[in-house]
Assembly symmetry: C2
Homo-oligomer: 194 residues x 2
DNA sequence: TAGAGACTAGACAGATCTGTCTGGTATCGT
DNA sequence: ACGATACCAGACAGATCTGTCTAGTCTCTA
């Protein structure tokens, strides 16, 4: 609440600039292919600042993924606000994904992508697991509100659809998969209420 | 099993040994993380042989992916032979995936994994695209035989399920996603016939 | 038996990557 | 004014990676 620097545009901190640069490059090109030097160059930050802030590339990767998790959570919750009807809120998840996948920068799920690059274990799997658990939990809640007979089972179905739509949107352009998934979700929701 | 067949006990060629070593290592750990030296060591092959046979790591990667494509095609066609009923043959795709995903070595779709590691374009995308096209075509054919009203549309749904099941099986162990996908396919198949 | 082709072992070059370290500059609270 | 903090610029070390090259071994065949 304090501060309120209206006219003077504060320059983002080195940490913030590093995170946005890492986010753009890691997501667009992958983690292994993007070196530290590319990141600090884009961020306009000294290498020493990166290492005094994050300690290692691995920790920068963790921060990148945690940022992506927060982004996704925020985008979904905000995107679902516009829907009132519980049924529409379930399907709305695929609407949000569809909007996102329409962007030419869309490259699929950052957690799966990161996971595909390395051996299991480590920070990547931690953040990835927690992000998946959150998504599943969201679907369970939406399923309950929509009156599904077995919310957990229905949520498991929606997770499969969500993953499949995300993969399809990355691999086949233009991305039709999210719309297909939405239609499937509609059919399955009918079946889950009966 | 006796030593009585020396003529058939031929040692695999350098190319074959390289391909099996590359297949195991690339699939298990990813392409960037596995260096040439690891591959030639496991294959028991000289580095010069690798480069005289394949020319570059990129071409070895292409050969690895083409091998995976052939493997998958063969596994699916063979796995579907046991089913007679057209409906069972559609669902059988998910049975085959379920069996595969039960193995502890399962690490998801090799094409998506490879694609997640690099920038678009290049051999990876080529093989990946053709493999996805083949899968889609298989589903179209199965859908037609099963009597779907719109085989292409139904196949698009099945591809979403297949991708989603594959991702889920890689990210959440033990892998429940293929069974979930099979159940969803059953419901959707009913809807696609009506 | 001689030679061609397939293969092995490993040194080497050149690039690139992560991470460290030195040293200098700007800003801010007190 | 002054010290603390945050930051910048870039050299450097050490590891690792792809790809090349030399030189020698084995096997089959004409």
């Amino acid at each position: 609440m304090s501060a309120a620097s209206p006219s003077t545009a504060r320059k983002p901190s080195a940490r913030e600039r590093l995170l946005t640069a890492a986010d753009e490059l890691f997501y667009a090109e992958g983690i292994h292919t993007v070196g530290i030097d590319r990141i600090i160059e884009r961020a306009g930050v000294a290498k020493a600042s990166l290492y005094s802030t994050f300690g290692s590339k691995d920790e920068l990767v963790r921060a990148y993924l945690e940022g992506r998790h927060g982004l996704r959570r925020g985008r979904l919750l905000k995107g679902l606000e516009r829907f009132e009807d519980p049924r529409e809120r379930v399907l709305g998840v695929f609407d949000v994904l569809d909007e996102l996948a329409g962007s030419p920068d869309f490259r699929g799920c950052p957690f799966y992508n990161a996971s595909a690059e390395g051996v299991p274990g480590g920070p990547v799997q931690e953040v990835s697991d927690s992000s998946r658990a959150w998504t599943r939990g969201l679907f369970v809640e939406l399923a309950r509100e929509a009156g599904a007979k077995d919310p957990a089972a229905f949520a498991a179905q929606m997770v499969v659809l969500y993953d499949g739509a995300s993969v399809g949107a990355r691999m086949d352009r233009p991305a039709m998969a999210p719309k297909v998934a939405r239609a499937m979700a509609e059919t399955l929701l009918d079946a889950a209420l009966a």
